[in-house]
């Protein structure tokens, strides 16, 4: 079959067909692997989302149409809409703090007379270098744990009562934000630092000669110059923040060790419905909705930058 086709192509247009054939031949292992492990499960998830599959209907499930989507999108107390709102709030809060803090710290690191810059940078890179899940678990046990967590030891020293940091929604949200910032800031600082270093110093010199203060220099020189440089990294970070699973799951939602907080991002919500409450159909519908949202975002942002 392959040979025949190849011959036919050869006769038709000599160079072109052969190139196409070999290009696909050599890409085949990679593309087949992606097809099997990534594309097909997504399609299958789409199929499951149309059924009533759950623990009781593991084999004898039936197609129920768009019922799961209705439940997610139209029922106000289904939990999906509140998870969506929480995720948006989470993304906005995290991104704003991240950008501001990273900008300030990178600016401080770029002050000319700071000789130990490299040393500080190396130390500040540690949270990025550590395996993410290890850091999160260390935060959970080392900082937030109600018995031997450092925070509660300090509270005790101050004569205050021990607090169960991860058990209520608001404080769990704050704790997750702190940990997420701790994990994500080093990367952002690196990006900002690189962008700041790429600015031509002569701009500032002439601006100072013209009498522009720090604030004016920032608004008119620094920010416009670094914007296009940091934009791709910022967009990627928005995506990873929106898709955050590890921080929230490991801190508060671990299977068998839930802390009682109801703060969910979309991903932990979908996970809970698949593996804890075993509503496979419903969870798949949520997965497809999340995927659609992500497609919408990336269609708006990333594809524009392609040549």
């Amino acid at each position: 079959m392959g040979l025949k086709r190849q011959k036919k192509w050869k006769q038709k247009k000599k160079g072109k067909g052969k190139t196409t054939f070999y290009a696909y031949l050599y890409s085949a292992p990679s593309l087949i692997l992606i097809g099997l492990v990534v594309v097909f499960p997504i399609l299958y998830t789409g199929y499951i989302s149309l059924t009533n599959m759950n623990v009781y209907h593991w084999f004898d499930f039936e197609i129920i149409g768009l019922g799961n989507y209705e439940r997610a999108l139209l029922l106000v107390d289904s939990g999906f809409l509140s998870a969506l709102l929480a995720t948006i709030l989470w993304t906005v809060v995290n991104m704003v703090i991240q950008l501001v803090v990273a900008f300030v710290l990178a600016s401080l690191l770029n002050i000319q007379s700071l000789k130990l810059r490299k040393f500080y940078k190396t130390l500040l890179m540690f949270p990025w270098a550590m395996p993410g899940y290890v850091s999160i678990l260390l935060w959970k046990t080392g900082m937030f744990n109600s018995q031997f967590g450092l925070l509660n030891q300090w509270m005790e020293k101050l004569g205050l009562q021990a607090v169960r940091w991860l058990s209520s929604d608001v404080s769990a949200f704050i704790c997750c934000t702190v940990v997420n910032l701790w994990l994500a800031l080093p990367f952002m600082i690196m990006i900002m630092d690189g962008a700041l270093q790429s600015i031509d110093k002569s701009y500032y010199e002439s601006a100072i000669l013209d009498g522009a203060g720090w604030f004016k220099r920032t608004i008119y020189i620094t920010l416009p110059t670094i914007r296009p440089i940091i934009a791709p990294a910022v967009i990627i970070t928005v995506f990873t923040t929106f898709k955050q699973f590890d921080v929230v799951y490991l801190l508060t939602q671990q299977a068998g060790a839930k802390t009682g907080s109801h703060f969910h991002t979309l991903l932990t919500y979908a996970y809970e419905n698949a593996f804890i409450t075993n509503n496979y159909g419903y969870s798949s519908a949520i997965s497809i909705i999340i995927f659609a949202l992500l497609l919408l975002f990336s269609w708006k942002f990333r594809l524009k930058e392609e040549p």
């Binding site: 070999y22 290009a23 050599y26 990679s30 692997l33 992606i34 099997l36 492990v37 990534v38 499960p41 997504i42 299958y44 998830t45 499951i48 401080l108 002050i111 130990l116 190396t122 130390l123 500040l124 890179m125 540690f126 949270p127 990025w128 270098a129 550590m130 395996p131 899940y133 290890v134 850091s135 678990l137 260390l138 046990t141 080392g142 900082m143 744990n145 018995q147 031997f148 450092l150 030891q153 005790e156 701790w182 791709p232 990627i236 995506f239 699973f245 671990q254 068998g256 060790a257 991903l267 979908a270 996970y271 593996f275 969870s283 999340i290 995927f291 992500l294 990336s298 269609w299 990333r302």
Partner: protein
């Protein structure tokens, strides 16, 4: 006047340095705390006068981690998974990335677009579907199944990242060699691969770190403790014996992190250039 200005600058610099020292210390508190607990002999966890320097130095917790737990078995599992995944990933991604970078053929742009979109799909979301598909094939609780999932998940990234880097290598070099009569295979082996070394190293490292750090598939798909990866094992250490083993858990965390930390700091320069040239630029 001048002196005063100099003085002010110097004081400002002192404050700046103090600020950064404090910041670095605060940033490192969780790691320092774990380090100190893992080396501490007394179980002084509940006493209120805790210090960041262990009062009585000991290596017992590390001994317990290395010989009391199954960490060596887990390390072996992780090593098998990591080596196979990296090898397969590179073997399938390099030819594909080269074709997508150098050849023009129908469907090329469509596949590239699809890859960008697929890259935004979080693997957790299709985990249940993957589980249901692998179970009838007997690939649950088996290394082969996990390797399949890992290579497939990282295939999008590997292809994309290396294609981006191949794009930056000038075609003229290859054309010159082709005029001299070199076949495509020779050309790739002798010219392209040596030039693409930074990107290949970075891709391999990213795949390696991914396998090293992946816990959710490893805990969901592998049920026997003898098949756990390091990540899954560490996860089980904290989940089963919450309070009792905090020092052991801290020691295990440090042990598991060390390889990744050293890879990161050794390859920091490569990381930035290899990633920005290929992946991040998209």
């Amino acid at each position: 006047m001048r002196n005063r200005k100099k003085m002010r600058k110097r004081i400002g610099l002192v404050f700046l340095n103090l600020f950064f020292i404090a910041l670095c210390f605060v940033t490192l508190i969780p790691i320092l705390y774990a380090l100190s607990v893992s080396f501490n002999a007394q179980n002084s966890l509940l006493s209120s006068d805790f210090s960041f320097l262990p009062e009585q130095f000991t290596l017992d917790n590390y001994r317990e981690v290395l010989f009391g737990e199954d960490i060596l078995v887990w390390f072996g599992n992780t090593a098998i998974l990591a080596v196979s995944t990296v090898a397969i990933s590179l073997a399938v991604a390099i030819p594909a990335a080269y074709c997508f970078s150098r050849r023009r053929f129908p469907g090329r742009m469509a596949v590239i677009r699809a890859l960008v979109l697929l890259n935004s799909f979080p693997a957790v979301l299709s985990m249940f579907a993957v589980y249901r598909l692998l179970r009838p094939l007997g690939l649950i609780n088996s290394r082969a199944g996990l390797i399949l999932v890992y290579t497939g998940t990282m295939a999008v990234f590997s292809l994309w990242n290396m294609k981006g880097y191949f794009d930056t290598i000038p075609v003229e070099l290859e054309e010159a060699a082709r005029i001299d009569g070199a076949s495509t295979f020779r050309l790739v082996r002798l010219i392209v691969l040596p030039l693409a070394k930074p990107s290949i190293i970075v891709t391999a490292l990213m795949v390696l770190i991914y396998v090293w750090n992946e816990y959710i598939y490893a805990t969901t798909f592998m049920t026997g403790e003898d098949k756990y990866t390091l990540a899954a094992g560490l996860y089980s250490l904290q989940a089963t014996e919450m309070s009792g083993s905090w020092p052991v858990f801290a020691a295990a965390s440090i042990t598991v992190s060390l390889p990744v930390l050293s890879i990161f700091f050794l390859c920091q320069r490569h990381m930035v250039s290899g990633l920005t040239a290929g992946g991040v630029k998209g």
